[in-house]
Symmetry: D2
Subunit: 324 residues, 4 copies
């Protein structure tokens, strides 16, 4: 993720990439060489008053610490989601972040995807009346390497976290109940590591809107990314993209091109757009679209999903849910 954001920064006319930092000096060196920026330590960067903002794309477990350091140094911050894997820790840190003199933006890329934004725009224009239910399909093309599983935070915090935020954004109200169930169908090693690879969740909002989330770590056919809103007067959906607009007609039928394979391909525009949004924030044109509280809300939902999975029962989400 660091490489992806660094390349987008280097290509943007609105930013200048001034330094690259990484615990892994080799990685940092390669990236710096490619993009023509020096490698510096994170401490040096924070101490350099000429640097206005930092993009934190370290491993998830160090997001919060790096953000707090940057905030303390008066930097504006762009941080990859999620801000933390532990909700209580995050809740405890909220006051410090919110007192920061400079904006802190937590990047949930779905909110900047032009397809999902068009869906939301049409919904906001009233094209399908009142919202009744939401379906989200978020299936990865292939399971991550096994060594990633233990430090991923688990399926819900690593993967479903996107869907929790997307659903919250689309529905515009808090969830009050959540039921999660899952299986380990892709790889028994994942189960041995205490995780699942397949999940189905049902969430209910304060206004009785129902949301279904489907997750899988492996499709066999690319990155399946669909969102559908069902309303009182119709439905809106973002369907999968195809890598090209080529169709082939043959004996076996009519075939479209494959899906984009990876998140980097599917959400390439979203990653550029969220960086552009951050430029707008730095320019003072707008406030960050998503901040620490959005990260906390999604994290609380992930915690509730883990609890539901373990207990086998739905979880009622408290009235102060999502708040510190």
């Amino acid at each position: 993720m660091g490489g992806l954001h660094a390349r987008n920064i280097a290509a943007s006319p609105r930013f200048r990439l001034t330094a690259v930092a990484d615990h892994n000096q080799e990685l940092a060196g390669d990236l710096a060489g490619e993009l023509g920026a020096p490698v510096r330590s994170y401490e040096e960067i924070l101490a350099d008053a000429s640097i206005e903002a930092v993009v934190v794309a370290s491993s998830t477990s160090s997001h919060l610490e790096n953000v707090l350091l940057a905030v303390g140094s008066g930097k504006a911050v762009f941080c990859e989601k999620p801000l933390s894997l532990d909700a209580d820790t995050l809740a405890g840190a909220l006051p410090d972040i919110e007192r920061a003199s400079r904006p802190v933006f937590i990047a949930f890329n779905r909110r900047f995807d032009p397809h999902l934004r068009d869906l939301k725009r049409q919904f906001d224009e009233g094209r399908i009346g009142a919202l009744e239910t939401v379906h989200i399909i978020n299936h990865d093309p292939a399971a991550p390497r096994l060594e990633f599983i233990p430090r991923s935070g688990g399926l819900f915090k690593d993967f479903t976290i996107h869907d929790f935020d997307t659903a919250s954004w689309l529905i515009g109200e808090e969830f009050v109940e959540l039921f999660a169930t899952g299986s380990c169908l892709v790889d028994p090693e994942i189960e041995a590591l205490g995780d699942i690879d397949t999940a189905k969740l049902i969430l209910r909002s304060a206004g009785n809107i129902l949301c279904v989330i489907s997750n899988s770590r492996r499709t066999g056919y690319g990155y399946d990314q669909r969102v559908e809103l069902f309303g009182s007067k119709g439905a809106l959906r973002v369907d999968n993209l195809a890598t090209t607009a080529v169709w082939r007609l043959g004996e076996e039928g009519t075939s479209a091109a494959p899906f984009p394979y990876s998140f980097a391909e599917r959400y390439a525009e979203g990653y550029r757009a969220e960086l552009n949004h951050f430029a707008d924030v730095l320019d003072g044109r707008t406030a960050p679209a998503t901040g620490p509280r959005d990260s906390l809300r999604a994290l609380r939902l992930a915690d509730a999903a883990e609890q539901s999975l373990k207990s086998g029962s739905p979880i009622i989400l408290g009235g102060t849910f999502g708040n510190a």
Copy 2:
């Protein structure tokens, strides 16, 4: 439903429509007049040795009684789903039905839909590897008249019953756990009558296959009927049909023709095919594809869904589930 089946019988070269019976003499007369068959009482029909089979499409609450009478008279029976609204009553009647000298076919139309059959054929041929999860969307275009709600048996027995059977048929193994939740979003009068109009369910099979069912009584855009199978090597789905293959390109975008509006349109071929299947059964070429035990299984799942909705918890389905 009686009219639909009677018209299909009259048009089939494999059947001769010999009589029509209905408590409502006017309806019976109209149908008989249209199709050139006499109105007779159900008792007369059962007593007529020249009649080989009866199609029971009465109100659901009298299905079982009418089937038992027919079985007792030595008739072969084609009965609209579901055979009963009460699982224990049905379980009690099973021995009598299964001792019948002539076949008893319970018609679940989805199993005869050419699109779902093609899906199942491709799955059975191994096109997507091992089955992992199933999604069913079954949304009606518009809520039924309110007077139908109290005698419908409720959303799960009236409507979801199709999905319970479809899922069982596609998965080919029994379900062991079920969670159902619902809302009343379409019409508050439905809630006042003790029913819901929107539901989401998650079922788990003995082999950990997960199945999501989505129901709504009203779409605003036609009869939304989709089934998707996710497997280890790909996915298969039956998408919605369009009433014609016409597309319009205009300023607003590219528009396909609307969906078929009603079940009668969407499943017209399925209704003809299930009648043809019954002809094969009568000719001794095959056994009924679905019988009383399939009806009982679906009914037990509907009962479990009601129980889950009321309790707010998942229901564990017993080891002898689906059996008498």
Copy 3:
């Protein structure tokens, strides 16, 4: 074609199939046996005053003779397109046919296809403004057996004839200029027999609407049947159908089901609808939608196409074009 129409007649509640005639006694016997109607000679049928109408689906070269005999016997006539392969002969026979006491319907199946009718309805409602150009793709799945080629009348009279009629029907005005070119790409034997298997034509109407027709005797992927209307405010098209609504998602991409393979499959509804139209004609509810003059118009266009192909130049169609 005889078998197809006979089966539709037998299945229709609006007709009674009273006899089957064919020079080939074996074929006639098989069909008669299947449908429960006697084999009789054409002369006997024409002499039988209890028979109201005949369906002529003999070889094209005998269509006109059989129609004239039927007309002379006072029968109503349903004749497969085209009525003749020779325009002057047909023009000469027109007065006799048009003096007939009973209706003569020349069946161009495209006009009864529900998809094309929906296209036309939307166009007639003004959905795309004024018509500017028309594209027709009419490609067969596989070349006919070689022995059919010499008696087919050639590609333009056998195959493009449909498109000439469809275009005339959609545009609603006469063509004044035609350019045709072709190749023999599918099978050199077709060229040896003096025919072509691939053609592209451009027609211009009196109102300067341009129409492109594309023909091929072989696709490799089914029966490709598309029509597109481009207007001043948008476009309308009939796309290909798929045999089922099943989609498969796999590594190679997203695949729809194959096209209907044959004209009998693709236009099954159209064949039933044209028969139903003929029943309406017999009932006096409407005049035949297409008659001998439509057949003559299409035939004149086919003649012009042959002439254009041979001369290499566009053909100007005379002011009295399409008239006797």
Copy 4:
């Protein structure tokens, strides 16, 4: 076009924009200001030895002169298509251009569109067997301003020129015959200016491959850009793109998002890719994919189309066609 290319150059890591030249000083100044490069005269730029290459995107009538000046100054050249509006003049200049020390690349953007490239790749891999016919639809969303018509070179040289090059590239052999016809249906003022706004063309290649081109200056629904290849074993097509992957389901049917409206949107990736190709050419990794002879070929076809339109007859293209 100058602005589009200048912005792509400024955003590319492989180029440095060193100067902007335009007869219109105000336009030049605005662009220069936006991109942070100085305005200089074309003469100064050509005289500056530190500048390696120029991009010529002047008005079409001065393309050739500007290219010859640049070639004479030892610059590498990227020139917008077409290189000239007069084939004989261009043929006369060919020797000078081809003797140039540095590469001259004539940019036909379709050849760099990722969708068309995927089509070609699949065709080259033999996915549809031998090529038989090609259909190209190239329809503009709205007619250009009337003052552009007289200096456009006419529909064939301004607009169809793309299709001539695309067809030549896809087919890989020369055309030997061409028939063009057209109408003025969009705006009678265009006719008054001696041009047409609607055209249909049929081209035949040396190997009897037939190609249909359809052009319109106005669709009412966006920029309609389709290419279809029909082969001996199947077909491949590039369909229109949609601006987003959002679908709306409503009473009126199922609607996709609108098409990209303009060439700048539709071919945005192609414009970037052709610039990247030019960087590869400058790096010596490859020769220009298209050069002056491709421009001459397309221009000769446009001349033939004008001649065919005027004469009403097909044009036979000579054996030395496309050569100087």
